[in-house]
Subunit: 188 residues, 2 copies
Amino acid sequence: METKKEEKIINGINIDQLFKTIQLIKENAKISKFKFRAANHWVHGTHCRATIKDFYGALKEDNSRPPVDYDMDEPPVLLGNNEGRNPVEYLLVALSGCLTTSLVAHASAKGIKINGVESRYEGDIDLQGFLGLSEDVPVGYQEIRVYFKIDADVSNEQKEEMVRMAQKYSPVFNTITKSAPVAVHLEK
Amino acid sequence: METKKEEKIINGINIDQLFKTIQLIKENAKISKFKFRAANHWVHGTHCRATIKDFYGALKEDNSRPPVDYDMDEPPVLLGNNEGRNPVEYLLVALSGCLTTSLVAHASAKGIKINGVESRYEGDIDLQGFLGLSEDVPVGYQEIRVYFKIDADVSNEQKEEMVRMAQKYSPVFNTITKSAPVAVHLEK
């Protein structure tokens, strides 16, 4: 009886597929080029709604996912009505997901079994920037602090290395810390 | 009979409250300091869950909002199972909400009535960065393009000015285009 070779899966990450993807990209770098997209519709006041649906990657358009909406609004102290969490909070959501996924993926590639990962995020914004009251105050986040707790049977040095890998390879972390150009156009 | 003075509300933005807030901040700049927060819990593989709840601002902690969860996951082509949209897509959601809110708030402060605002976002990521296959490829977004459609009875020049104000005063736009420091700690 033939035994089908089982795929190597660590922490829920399919390592065989990961290394197969790496090999395919080495053969054709175009496979690695992705385009992610969103649309936004203003509802009322500080309330708007974003929608995520299609993306491009691995040489093709992917329209297979149903659209998902995300409502955004400000709390009353920021002139809103809590119809959703606010955009700067969504930025922390994005950062948290990206650091966590990068940490788990890169640890899994090294064969490290993880039992749990928790993290907390806090960022400082001074509204004087948004309100145009001071040119000296940054409009964006002044600083973001992140605290990771990792449950895995490895040394603290290895956990520190996992946290370094997460930062080195996280697209959202690198977009925020190294900046990215954003070209904004008006359609007439 | 006394008539109660009505509050000035444009596009759903309470302009009286906006200018009152600006006056309060001019008297005490500490009012403008906000801290936004998120927590993240790794679920399995590329699936994790972020939670938004409390924040600090206007001199006090705000615990009044119920927690909201955001699931993040990758599509199958990126080793996930579509249990949520992915972190780099959430970054576009955050950017879309912040540019839209900034545009509407600053136009409202100038008394411009808006009928509608729609926008589209597309960003390029080359996975060679995330996978560590090339030191020359940025890990984060290489470029993000934004397209606004504004329905308002104003000239194209005024619409262009609205789009410029959105960029000048949006915290997420400025975090991405100017960068922000992110300090990541391991809790032992």
